[in-house]
C-alpha cells in the first residue's frame, strides 16, 4: 500500500467519510469488515487476478504513440490501453472485484448507477456471469444519448430503470440507486462505479483499479527503463485516474495530472469541473469538492461526455489537490472534439469522449516537456458508444 489513507473513519484528510442515512450504516460497516478481511485472503486475491487475466484480458498494453510523439516533438507519449479491456473500459476492473465481494457476502441482488452506460454494462456483464439479479439505474437523459449501451445491458439480462427526477443524469441515477439500497438493504449489493460515495467505496474502487498503476510501474521499467515523468487521466468521479495515480503517490518525481470537463468553458459556469470551480461540500455520502450554489444546493453540470457529467468527485482527488500532489486542469468540449479526431487520425484509436479529455490536455502539456521525458495517457475507454453523440454534435449525415 502506498499510503495509509483513508483513516479508520474513511477520511482522506478532511474529505470522504460516511454521510448517509442511518439505514445504510449497517451495510457500509458490513462491507468494510468483509473487504478488510478479504483483501488479505489468498483465495480471494487469486480469484480476482485470474478473472482479470482470463476474463478482462489483462495486463493492458503500454503502447508507444509514435505519430503523436512526432507531432508534438517534445517528449515520448505512451498510451495505457484500458480501452482494450473486455467491455471497452477500465470500469470492468472494479466490477470484477466487487462482484466477488458480493459473492463472498452471499448477496443475490445487484444494483448500480450508470452515466455513459459503461459501468452499467460492466456491472451487467459480471452479474450475468454469476447469474445474479441485476438492476441498473440510469438518468432518462443518458438513456437517450447512450441507447446502444442500454440495449447491451438488456442483452446481458439486466433491468434498466430510467430515472426522471432532478436533472435525469448520473447524479440522479445515484440518488435512486441509494434509495433502492436503503429499501433492499439486506439482500442487495450496490456496485458503485467510481471512487465516490461513502466509505469504504472510494477505497475499494481505487484498490480494484490500482492494477492499472501497478502494471504501469513494470511496463515503464521495461519500455523506457524508468518511471514516467507525467501521467495524465480524465476525471469525472475519478476512478480511472485514481487507479493509475495511486501506486505513484509516493513517487514524488512523477507528475500526476487529472483533466476535468470544462464543458462550454469554466468561465461560463456550464461545465463539470468541481476541482477547478467548486468548493468542499457533501454529496452522495462523502465530503469532497462539489459544484454547488451559495445555498448549498447542487448545481447543474454540462459536458459533452455523459461519463464526466457529474457535479462531485472522489474524495481522494480532493485531498491530492489540496496537498498539491496532483494537479487538476480542465479542457472544453471544443478542445475535446479536436483531440478526438486527432487520436483517430494519427494513432488509429477511437477513444471515448471521456478519454479524449486527457488527450486534449497534450496541447498545453507537451510544449513544457523535454525530448527525453515520458508522458503516459490513461486511455480509459473506447469510443464506439459515443459515435451517435459525435454524429449528432457535428451534424453529420451518415
Amino acid at each position: 500500500m502506498k499510503n495509509n489513507l483513508p483513516d479508520k473513519d474513511g477520511f482522506f484528510g478532511e474529505y470522504g467519510g460516511k454521510f448517509v442515512p442511518e439505514t445504510l450504516m449497517f451495510a457500509l460497516n458490513e462491507l468494510e469488515q468483509t473487504y478488510t478481511k478479504l483483501k488479505e485472503n489468498n483465495d480471494f486475491n487469486s480469484e480476482f487476478h485470474k478473472d482479470l487475466t482470463e476474463f478482462v484480458g489483462r495486463p493492458s498494453p503500454l503502447y508507444f504513440a509514435k505519430r503523436l510523439t512526432e507531432f508534438y516533438n517534445s517528449g515520448s507519449i505512451w498510451l495505457k490501453r484500458e480501452d482494450l479491456n473486455h467491455t471497452g473500459a477500465h470500469k470492468i476492473n472494479n466490477t470484477v472485484g466487487q462482484i466477488l465481494l458480493a459473492k463472498y457476502m452471499g448477496k443475490k441482488r445487484i444494483i448500480a448507477e450508470t452515466g455513459a452506460g459503461q459501468h452499467g454494462v460492466a456491472t451487467a456483464t459480471v452479474a450475468a456471469r454469476l447469474g445474479l439479479d441485476c438492476h441498473i439505474y440510469m438518468g432518462s437523459e443518458d438513456v437517450k444519448r447512450q441507447s446502444l449501451n442500454v440495449y447491451r445491458m438488456k442483452l446481458l439480462g439486466a433491468e434498466v430503470h430510467e430515472v426522471n427526477s432532478g436533472s435525469a443524469t448520473l447524479k440522479d441515477a445515484l440518488n435512486e440507486a441509494l434509495r433502492d439500497w436503503v429499501t433492499n438493504i439486506e439482500d442487495t449489493y450496490y456496485i458503485i462505479g467510481s471512487v465516490t460515495g461513502p466509505h469504504p467505496y472510494p477505497m475499494i474502487v481505487r484498490d480494484f483499479n490500482a492494477v492499472v498503476g501497478y502494471e504501469l510501474i513494470e511496463q515503464s521499467q521495461k519500455s523506457f527503463g524508468r518511471m514516467p515523468d507525467s501521467i495524465v487521466a480524465c476525471v469525472g468521479g475519478g476512478s480511472n485516474a485514481m487507479g493509475i495515480f495511486y501506486p505513484f503517490i509516493d513517487m514524488k518525481d512523477v507528475e500526476l495530472i487529472g483533466v476535468e470537463a470544462a464543458g462550454k468553458g469554466i468561465e461560463t459556469g456550464e461545465h463539470a469541473a468541481p476541482l477547478n470551480d467548486g468548493s468542499p461540500g457533501v454529496l452522495h455520502g462523502a465530503k469532497s469538492y462539489l459544484m454547488q450554489d451559495e445555498n448549498g444546493q447542487v448545481r447543474g453540470t454540462a459536458s459533452i461526455s455523459a461519463g464526466l457529467d457529474y457535479p462531485g468527485v472522489g474524495p481522494e482527488h480532493s485531498w491530492l489537490k489540496d496537498i498539491k500532489r496532483a494537479k487538476y486542469v480542465a479542457v472544453s468540449d471544443d478542445q475535446v472534439m479536436k483531440a478526438f479526431h486527432m487520436v483517430n487520425k494519427m494513432e488509429g484509436i477511437l477513444p471515448a469522449l471521456e478519454t479524449a479529455h486527457a488527450f486534449a490536455y497534450l496541447d498545453d502539456l507537451m510544449p513544457t516537456m523535454k525530448k527525453d521525458q515520458h508522458i503516459v495517457i490513461n486511455v480509459s475507454g473506447r469510443g464506439d458508444k459515443d459515435l451517435n453523440s459525435v454524429v449528432e454534435i457535428e451534424d453529420i449525415q451518415l
Partner: protein, 261 residues
C-alpha cells in the same frame, strides 16, 4: 425548560402521545407554509418538523422529493426558512419546531444554525449523517438546540448507545427499511427495537416513516412516545394547493390525532 422537553413532558403527564407533523417549507409557497404551520397545530400537531429542501434528498420517496423540487423553484433557502419561523413565532411561541434536512445545506448556513434558536428553532435533524457524528466537529455548535438522531431497524445494537448519548429532544426511530412514504411496517420488530432503545435512555422515542393509516398510527403509538407523519401530509397539501383549501389536511391530522389517543 426547552420547548420540546416541555411539550413532551406535558403530553406524557396527561398520558398522551405526541404527533410530529412534517411539511416542506416553501411548498407550495412561503406564505402558505406559514398558514399550514398554524393550521397543522390547530388540527392537532404537537411538534412541527420543517423540511429544508435539497436538490438531492436521498432518504426521501417521490412525494417528498417532488415537494423539495417545488420548494426550490420558489428559491427557498435556510435564510427564508428562518424568516418563516420568525413569522410563525409572532403568533405561536409554544409549539416546538425542528428543522429536518441534509448536511450540505446546514453546513452552508452553519452560522445561521448557530443562532437559529433566537428565531424560534428548537432542534435540528440531519437525515444523512450517522447518529454518532459530532456536528460540533463541523462547526455546528448551538447548545440551545436539540439534536435529533435517527435509529433504524438495521442499526447495530452496539451503536445505539452512542447514538442516544449524542441526541436530545427525542430519538427518531425509523420504522422501516426504505425511503419516506414507503410501506410494509413490521409491528413486532418495531416494538422490540423501541423497547431496546428505551432500556438505554430516558429520552422519548418517536416512530416514523411509512405511517399512513389510522391503524398504523394506533399500532406504532402503542409502543412509542409518539409518531411522525410526513409524506401523507405533504401529498394532501400538494393535492389542494391549487385552490388553497386545506380542510382535507386538517381533517387528516385530526383523524390521526384521534387514532393515537
Amino acid at each position: 425548560m426547552r420547548r420540546i422537553e416541555k411539550k413532551l413532558t406535558e403530553l406524557s403527564k396527561n398520558n398522551l402521545k405526541a404527533f410530529v407533523g412534517y411539511i416542506v417549507a416553501g411548498d407550495p409557497d412561503s406564505q402558505t407554509s406559514l398558514d399550514l404551520m398554524h393550521l397543522s397545530v390547530n388540527a392537532g400537531v404537537d411538534i412541527l418538523e420543517i423540511g429544508v429542501p435539497f436538490t438531492d434528498p436521498i432518504a426521501e420517496g417521490p412525494i417528498i422529493q417532488q415537494a423539495h423540487d417545488r420548494s426550490l423553484e420558489n428559491n427557498t433557502n435556510l435564510e427564508s426558512i428562518i424568516d418563516l419561523i420568525k413569522r410563525f413565532r409572532e403568533k405561536d411561541n409554544e409549539t416546538p419546531i425542528i428543522l429536518m434536512g441534509y448536511i450540505n445545506n446546514f453546513l452552508t448556513y452553519k452560522d445561521l444554525i448557530n443562532t437559529s434558536h433566537e428565531s424560534g428553532v428548537d432542534g435540528i435533524l440531519v437525515v444523512d449523517i450517522p447518529g454518532e457524528l459530532s456536528l460540533k466537529d463541523y462547526g455546528i455548535d448551538n447548545q440551545n438546540l436539540d439534536i435529533i438522531s435517527l435509529v433504524s431497524p438495521t442499526t447495530a445494537q452496539e451503536r445505539i448507545q452512542n447514538i442516544v448519548n449524542n441526541s436530545s429532544g427525542f430519538i427518531y426511530y425509523v420504522t422501516l427499511r426504505g425511503v419516506t412514504g414507503s410501506s410494509n411496517l413490521d409491528g413486532k420488530e418495531i416494538a422490540q427495537n423501541i423497547e431496546y432503545i428505551k432500556s438505554l435512555t430516558k429520552t422519548p422515542v418517536m416512530a416514523g416513516f411509512g405511517i399512513k393509516s389510522k391503524d398504523d398510527a394506533k399500532l406504532l403509538s402503542s409502543f412509542s412516545d409518539g409518531i411522525v407523519i410526513g409524506s401523507s401530509i405533504v401529498e394532501l397539501i400538494h393535492k389542494n394547493s391549487e385552490n388553497k383549501d386545506f380542510h382535507e389536511v386538517s381533517d387528516y391530522i385530526s383523524n390521526m390525532k384521534d387514532a393515537i389517543r
